[in-house]
Symmetry: C2
Subunit: 436 residues, 2 copies
C-alpha cells in the first residue's frame, strides 16, 4: 500500500515529454514518487483529493539569501551602493546566529506557503540556516558567502568557514541538505581565492554558488582591474565549469553567453531583484535559445521583497517580453521550466527533483484552482505563470512528507515564529542604531 495518493488532479509533470494529465494521480511511497498518470488505482494511507487542483513539481528557488527576510522593508527605493553601504552591510554586521536561524525559519515558512520545495542559499551562519531547514522539512543547497577582498589572511579564514559548512552539513537532514562553496563574486574574491574554492569544491565533490555581472558598475570594476569582462575573466583563470551556479548574469555580451554555454555554467535569473535595484534586464531569451537551462530565483527578501516563486514567474515572463518589445520572447511554458526542471538542473539535482516522474523524490505542490482570479480555466500553464499567486498553493510535500495541508503548515508554530522574528529583527535594528 502506498503512503500517499494524490488523486484526480490536473497533473503538470514537467517530465521530458512535458506530459499533462487533465485528471491524473501521483502515488508516493516513502520519499519517492512510485506512479504518475491517468489510471492509477490502489490504496494509500493518505489520499489527497486533488479535484479542482493543479499538481506540479515543487518550485526551485535557485538563488536567495534566506535570512535576509529579517531586513524585508527595512530600506527600499535607494541608490544601490547607498542602500548596501548605509543600510544592508552595516545591519548585517550585527547579525547573530539566532537572528539567522529565525530569519531562515521565517523564509522556510514563506516558501512552504508559496510552493517552493527546494532552494539554493548563500549567506552567513549557515549551520543555523541548516537547522531551520531541517526543522521546516525543506530541501536546500547551502553555501557560506566567502568575501575575502584580496586579503590572504581573510581568505584563509573564509575558506575554512566555507569548508566547515561542507564538512558539517553535506547530506544532513536525511540527505535533504546539501552544500556548496559560495564565493560571493569576482569583485569581492581574488583569482587566488576563486581557484582555491574550485579546488575545494572538487575535493569535496560539491558545487559552487556565486554572483556574476549583476550591475554595470560591477562589470566596469572587473574590466578596470583585469582588463576583461566578468565572464571572460572568470573563464581565463579557469574558474568556470558545469558546477558553477551564477546568480543574475544581467550584463553579458554574446561572447560571454557563448562562454557560459561552452563551460556549462548554470545562470539564475532574478527578475524582481534586478528590477527593484534597477540593475538591468538579463538576456534570458538569448541564453535559453542557446540551450542554456536558465533557472529562476528570488534573491533575498531585502531586494524583492518576497520569496514567492509564482510572483517571480510572472515577472520573469513579463520583464523579458517588454525588454525585447516582443510578446513571444518568453512564453509561460519556458518560465515554468525555469522554475522547476531548470532549477533542478542548475543545482545538479535533476535526477532527484524538478519533475513528477517515477523514482524521483516526492517534492510536490498542489494549488487550488477554484478562485475567481483563476477562472475560467482554459490553460493551466498560463494560469500558473500569469494569474496564480503563492497563496493559491494549499498543499506542499517534500521528500514524501506533507509540510502544509489546506494552508496549515504542520510542525511549525507560525504565530510563534512571527512573534520571535519581529522581536529579533527589532533588536537587530536597535543594535545597529546604537552603533551608529
Amino acid at each position: 500500500m502506498a503512503d500517499i495518493l494524490i488523486k484526480d488532479g490536473y497533473i503538470i509533470t514537467m517530465d521530458p515529454q512535458r506530459r499533462v494529465f487533465e485528471r491524473g494521480s501521483v502515488e508516493i511511497e516513502g520519499d519517492k514518487i512510485t506512479a504518475v498518470g491517468k489510471d492509477i488505482e490502489g490504496r494509500a494511507d493518505t489520499v489527497i483529493d486533488a479535484r479542482g487542483k493543479v499538481v506540479l513539481p515543487g518550485l526551485v528557488n535557485a538563488h536567495t539569501h534566506l535570512s535576509m527576510t529579517l531586513l524585508r522593508g527595512v530600506a527600499d527605493d535607494m541608490p544601490l551602493m547607498e542602500w548596501l553601504e548605509t543600510k544592508i552591510w552595516p545591519i548585517e554586521k550585527n547579525l547573530t546566529s539566532r537572528d539567522c536561524y529565525l530569519g531562515a525559519l521565517l523564509g522556510c515558512l514563506e516558501m512552504i506557503k508559496s510552493g517552493t520545495t527546494c532552494f539554493a542559499d548563500l549567506y552567513f551562519f549557515m549551520e543555523d540556516v541548516a537547522r531551520a531547514v531541517e526543522e521546516a522539512g525543506l530541501r536546500a543547497m547551502l553555501s557560506y558567502g566567502i568575501i575575502e577582498l584580496g586579503d590572504p589572511k581573510r581568505r584563509e579564514s573564509e575558506l575554512r568557514a566555507g569548508e566547515k559548512l561542507v564538512k558539517t552539513c553535506q547530506g544532513a537532514a536525511g540527505g535533504r541538505i546539501q552544500t556548496m562553496f559560495g564565493p560571493h563574486a569576482a569583485y569581492t574574491c581574488s583569482p587566488e581565492c576563486l581557484m582555491q574554492v574550485k579546488e575545494l569544491a572538487k575535493k569535496y565533490k560539491v558545487r559552487i554558488h556565486t554572483h556574476i555581472s549583476e550591475t554595470q558598475d560591477e562589470v566596469d570594476k572587473i574590466v578596470k582591474k583585469y582588463g576583461k569582462r566578468p565572464v571572460e575573466h572568470l573563464d581565463s583563470i579557469g574558474f568556470l565549469g558545469p558546477e558553477v551556479l551564477a546568480a543574475h548574469c544581467v550584463w553579458l555580451t554574446e561572447r560571454e553567453i557563448a562562454i557560459i554555454r561552452k563551460q556549462g555554467v548554470k545562470p539564475v535569473h532574478n527578475p524582481v531583484s534586478n528590477m527593484k535595484t534597477a540593475s538591468g534586464v538579463a538576456p534570458v531569451p538569448e541564453m535559453l535559445a542557446a540551450g542554456i537551462p536558465v533557472a529562476l530565483g528570488t534573491d533575498g527578501a531585502a531586494s524583492n521583497n518576497a520569496l514567492d516563486m509564482f510572483n517571480e514567474m510572472k515577472f520573469a515572463a513579463l520583464l523579458n517580453k517588454v525588454g525585447k518589445l516582443d510578446p513571444t520572447a518568453m512564453p509561460a511554458k519556458s518560465v515554468l521550466e525555469m522554475a522547476t526542471i531548470n532549477g533542478a538542473i542548475a543545482l545538479g539535482l535533476e535526477d532527484r527533483i524538478g519533475s513528477l516522474e517515477v523514482g524521483k523524490k516526492a517534492d510536490i505542490v498542489l494549488a487550488d484552482l477554484k478562485k475567481p482570479h483563476l477562472a475560467p480555466l482554459h490553460n493551466v500553464m498560463s494560469h500558473l505563470v500569469y494569474s496564480a499567486v503563492g497563496s493559491d498553493v494549499d498543499t506542499t510535500i517534500v521528500d514524501g512528507r506533507i509540510l502544509m495541508r489546506n494552508r496549515r503548515v504542520l510542525g511549525i508554530d507560525e504565530d510563534e515564529v512571527l512573534k520571535q522574528v519581529q522581536a529579533t529583527s527589532d533588536d537587530l535594528l536597535d543594535r545597529w542604531r546604537a552603533e551608529k
Copy 2:
C-alpha cells in the same frame, strides 16, 4: 451610535498630509466616514478588530475591461496584432449580454477579494456590467466602447449606444455607478466622432474614457494619417481636457507630456498589460515629476491576467525603476498614491473616495499583516507595494457596506459564479470555434 468602528489598526489615510496612525480607528455612519484617528471612542453596531491589520482606502483600478475575465488565459505569448485579430476580436464578436454579465460578476468578485473598491470600465453590454456591479456592491465608472472606424452610420449607432448607457445608468445603484463616454482610441475613432463625444460628455456632464499611445504601431498610424503624434493630434482637434481619462500613455514625447499637463488629461498607467503585450514602458516618473496625477489600472484580464491592484503596484514600482536604471525612480509611496488618491482624481471622485477622511465615502479595505511574507514589520507602505498580494485583504467595505469579511464575500455565491463562468466561457469559445 456609529454603524461600523474599525478599531486599533495600522491606518494609512492617504489624506493631504498622508497621515499614518500606527494604532488608529475609522468610524463609519451610513455610507460615510465620520471619524479617523487615534483616540476614537464610542460604540458601533459592528466593531471590526483591526489589530495586526493595515486599514487603507479601497484601491481604484482606473482602467479595465471587466468582462474580459472570460478570456483569461485563452491566448497569451502571441504577437499583439495576431493575438487581437485571430483570437480576442473574433471571440468578442460572439459575446452575449449574459456572457458580459457573468464575466463582470467574476471580475467584481476578484476585485472585492483583492482590495479594489472602485474601477473604470470600458467595454460592451455595459448595462449588464452595471447589473453585476449593483449586485456585487462595488463602485464603478462605466463606459461603452465606441469604435466607428470613420463610418458615419456606425458613428451614429455607436454614439447612441454610448448615450443610452449614460441615460440609463448614470447615478445607478444609489450613486455607486457613474458613467463616461468611451471612444476607444484615435485610431478607431475619427476626429468627427471624438468631437461629438466631447459635446455629448459636456451635455450630460460626464467624463470620457479612452486609450492613448499604447503601442509604437498606433503612434505610427496616427502620424501617417494626421501628420501628428496622438496627443498632438487629439489636442489640435480640441478633444483633450481635464475630463479625459487616458489609458496607457506609453509612447509620449516631452512635448506631449507638457500637453497632457496643460490640458489636465488624466493618464492611467497599466504596467502589467504594457509588459505582457510588450508595448513599452510609459514615462510615469516624468509625468509625476510634472505634477500629473497618474493613476493605475490593470487593463483587461486577457492581457494581465489578473485584476489584482497589489500585483499592479509592485509592477508599477519595479518596471519604472528598471526602465530608468534608477532604483529611486518610483518609490512605494508614489505607487500607493497612484492606486488610491490619484485614481480618485483621475475619475473626478476625489471629493468622495481615494483617502480615509471625514466626509468621504466609506470605501475601505483591511489587509492582514500576520503572514510570513509580511514579517517582520518595519515599513507598512513598503509591505503594501513590494510584499503584499491581493489575497492578504480580508475585509472590503464599499459605501459603508461590508462586501467581504474574513475573506468571505457576502451576498454572492462564489462557487455558483465560478461554475456559471466556466460554462458560459466554454460555450463562448465553442461558438467561436464553430464559426471558424
